[in-house]
């Protein structure tokens, strides 16, 4: 049985019924077993441990302190509460990934509130909550703030639903807070007043990230906060913080490991320029740098003094040109991870190839995703240049407007260790621009050469051949994203019948129908989830799937305009909690 992700069950397979053989007594007293198990952190290992025998199951559940729930609907708060009595840290993920791209209607679900109500009752000593793609209301944040006196760490990634009211509650009541990390969260004009609610004697913060919140905060209060939190190691401010304000923050916190700057566009006097340059030079421990909104060649040099130790440079909010980018890179020899905007073009990527021999991860984002300005962006040449210079590359996310099979074949020969290969040729169904062939050969090369591949996103003109190769060769593949690809059910079937470790499959706008959907009957219980939108699946097919597999939730999201027999958006996932009790009217559980 696939041990991932944690699917907490009430009882393991051998204990619920009366035919349980009597188990021989354990050679270890419970205390010893529990002590040993308390060293095991990984939730996958713990899941395996819990299946060994009943006393191991019990020892495991009593010693587990960290809970990881990859799909909040796969289990219910009640089931979790019954099984695990002593939880201090919880990671909870909600919506399917395509919600990031506006493909899910508002109010779809994944509201954390019912979870918090249960946590407040059962886990009063909760210290850490990490949420991803969940809806978090102010009411929930208030409940959180008031229910857990020892609460330390809150991380909200791609969440929505809260305003500064909720954040004010956190700031005011969480006396022991060490981490407030808000990433990529969708906020409409969340006010900045919450920052001023940290009490005057509050000094425990180690991580503060409010880079994605739009509003101005009180700089005076921020400065005071930063100067009294001596253990602060991560500070990511938002765009409202200016360069000279940043300088003052850096003077108070030269010990920072991670910094997200504010706006880099400001008229500076020569004195201010010197001050900020010197402040950066004093940040000897900086490993991660981001922000840099509107950075340009005039002020980038102030950073140089802090770049020697940088391992992760995130320029995804700073669309640089190749020249200034190359100059900056020359100061960053230790980069392992780099995120850039495609304004750096192929020339900039050549500089990456020559300046960053230790690079392991590259992400190139499009400046102009909707092609309003017909800019070149990056091409296969840039990717090739990086692959030649950065042999340790194992993670790539690459948005481009043209690609060739030959380039990809060479790239994976140069870098055979890819674990994450996400190539997005932005025009749907676009062939190899030189030969006009489908891009099948490219992805065949990827799966054949990169035996460690765990995550793959395909794009361009693709026939079923691509999926045949994926099914046959991608033995370690866990996540596959497909868009505008394939010819027939056969393609999807190949993937479902191959890929032994597949956990997440998300498909849009591809000609896979009921036969394909149903060919994965047995597989879906071993996966976290399947998403299919705008394919050829019908309600009939979904109903059949639901009937055959009662432990799967087969949900269809109805659109106003959609034809009643077509299932335009289908979300299938395993669950021990049964059908959703909070489903909105447009989500049908079959």
């Amino acid at each position: 049985m696939d041990p991932e992700p944690k699917k907490p069950e009430d009882s393991p397979s051998n204990s619920a019924n009366s035919h349980t053989p009597v188990q021989p007594p354990s050679p270890f007293p419970d205390e010893v077993l529990e002590k040993v198990l308390s060293f095991i952190d990984s939730h996958k290992d713990r899941s395996s441990v819990s299946l060994v025998r009943k006393d191991w199951y019990n020892a495991e559940r009593w010693t587990r302190s960290k809970l990881f729930i990859g799909n909040c609907y796969s289990v219910s708060p009640e089931i979790v509460a019954r099984r695990f009595p002593r939880i201090k840290s919880i990671t909870l993920k909600g919506k399917p990934r395509f919600s990031d791209f506006n493909m899910l209607p508002r109010d779809w679900g994944a509201n954390v509130h019912s979870w918090l109500v249960m946590f407040a009752k059962v886990y009063p000593f909760l210290e850490e909550l990490r949420l991803k793609r969940m809806t978090v209301t102010d009411e929930s944040l208030e409940l959180l703030a008031k229910s857990f006196s020892g609460f330390k760490s809150l991380s909200l990634s791609s969440c929505d639903g809260f305003t500064d009211i909720g954040l004010k509650a956190i700031a005011s009541h969480c006396r022991n807070l060490t981490e407030l990390d808000i990433q990529d969260s969708v906020t409409e004009d969340v006010g900045g007043g919450w920052l001023s609610c940290f009490p005057e004697n509050f000094a425990s913060l180690e991580v503060l990230n409010f880079a994605s919140l739009n509003s101005e905060v009180s700089f005076d209060d921020l400065e005071r906060l930063v100067s009294r939190c001596k253990s602060l190691r991560v500070l990511k401010v938002n765009e409202s913080i200016t360069l000279d304000q940043l300088q003052r923050l850096l003077v108070h916190a030269p010990q920072l490991l991670e910094l997200g700057t504010g706006s880099f566009l400001q008229e500076l006097t020569p004195r201010q320029y010197e001050d900020i340059e010197s402040a950066f030079s004093n940040c000897k421990n900086l490993q991660i740098l981001s922000g840099l909104w509107e950075a340009n060649s005039l002020y980038l040099p102030v950073l140089y003094g802090a770049c020697a130790g940088l391992t992760f440079l995130n320029l995804s909010d700073a669309p640089l040109q190749s020249g200034e980018f190359a100059k900056l890179l020359a100061h960053c020899p230790n980069l392992r991870r780099l995120w850039v905007v495609d304004t750096v073009e192929d020339k900039g990527l050549e500089a990456v190839g020559s300046s960053c021999p230790l690079l392991e991860e590259l992400r190139v984002f499009p400046a102009d995703p909707y092609d309003r300005h017909h800019r070149d962006g990056v091409t296969e040449l840039g990717f090739l240049a990086v692959s030649r210079g950065c042999r340790n590359l194992h993670y790539v996310l690459y948005f481009c407007r043209r690609m060739t099979n030959a380039a990809v074949v060479t790239i994976v020969q140069n870098c055979p260790d890819f674990t994450h290969f996400r190539l997005c040729i932005m025009t749907p169904g676009q062939p190899d621009y030189l030969t006009n062939d489908p891009m099948d050969e490219a992805f065949a090369a990827v799966v054949k050469t990169c035996t460690k591949l765990k995550r793959l996103s395909v794009s361009g003109l693709l026939t079923d051949l691509t999926f045949e190769f994926i099914g046959k060769y991608a033995k370690n593949l866990e996540t596959l994203s497909v868009a505008f690809a394939g010819n027939s059910d056969w393609g999807m079937q190949c993937v479902l019948e191959g890929c032994p470790k597949l956990r997440k499959l998300e498909i849009r706008d591809s000609p896979f129908g009921n036969a394909a959907l149903l060919s994965g009957l047995k597989k879906y219980e071993m996966m976290r989830s399947l998403w299919m939108s705008d394919c050829n699946v019908t309600m009939k097919g979904c109903r059949l799937l639901a009937r055959e597999m009662p432990r799967l939730n087969v949900e269809v999201i109805m659109d106003e305009e959609s034809d009643e027999s077509q299932a335009d958006k289908v979300y299938v996932y395993r669950s021990v909690a049964g059908p959703r009790r909070d489903a909105p009217p447009f989500v049908l559980t079959l």
Binding site: D184, S215, E216, D244, L298, P319, A367, H374, L461
Partner: protein, 219 residues
């Protein structure tokens, strides 16, 4: 031998109505090229009908391909966005997170902004007291739903303010000319920003608005 599946599809925005077409004629690709992956030379031949996909690969596969294609609704959903200036945009594609800004920076604007070195020191020391002097005003751009906020205290000229606004709203080079910066003063009147000296502007501005040229004529 090529297979052409012809599908007549109206392209919505005719040549004249798309302001983005002015941006760079040389690089412009028509809807067919951009969306259907058709080469430019083929587009000219095809004129009004659009091939769904052109592929002269393996003959056998191709037959299967055609047949399947014709039966299935293998047509990407086109959701026309509210902004009339857009070309056709497929919902959720490319898969970039919605909060990520679209950058419309042009090199020429960036070069302009680098000319503002060595601004006069106002006697109080460059950074002294800056924190409490931040001056946030609301900025609205006509046609854009969300109102933004801008800190005026870091700017000392219309030049730098304009650069910031261009950056903030991602205004393309050609469109810069089409907008006028107006501001609301303490008495509530809306005035053209550049009509007054910077110092006057900065002392009385309450809000900013970027208005399209035609409308300012009547305000």
């Amino acid at each position: 031998m090529e297979v052409q599946l012809e599908l007549a599809l109206s392209s919505g925005s005719g040549k004249g109505s798309d302001p983005n077409q002015d941006c760079d004629q040389r690089k412009k690709r028509s809807f067919e090229e951009a969306f259907m992956g058709v080469k430019k030379k083929d587009v000219d031949d095809l004129h009004e009908t659009l091939p769904l996909l052109i592929w002269d690969g393996n003959e056998e596969k191709k037959q299967q391909f055609d047949g399947e294609l014709l039966e299935q609704k293998h047509i990407p959903k086109l959701a026309i966005s509210n902004n009339r200036e857009d070309n056709f945009v497929v919902v959720g594609w490319p898969p970039v997170k919605s909060w990520r800004r679209q950058f419309c920076h042009q090199i020429s604007h960036r070069e302009c902004t680098t000319n503002y070195v060595n601004v006069e020191n106002n006697g109080g020391g460059g950074g002294g007291g800056r924190g409490s002097n931040s001056m946030y005003v609301k900025v609205k751009m006509e046609g854009v739903g969300i109102t933004r906020k801008l800190n005026l205290s870091v700017h000392r000229s219309y030049h730098s303010l304009t650069a910031k606004l261009i950056a903030m709203f991602g205004i393309c080079e050609e469109n810069v000319e089409k907008y006028k910066l107006t501001y609301q003063d303490k008495e509530g009147h809306w005035l053209l920003a550049r009509d007054v000296p910077w110092e006057t502007f900065i002392h009385s501005v309450q809000r900013l608005k970027l208005q399209k040229m035609a409308t300012t004529f009547y305000s």
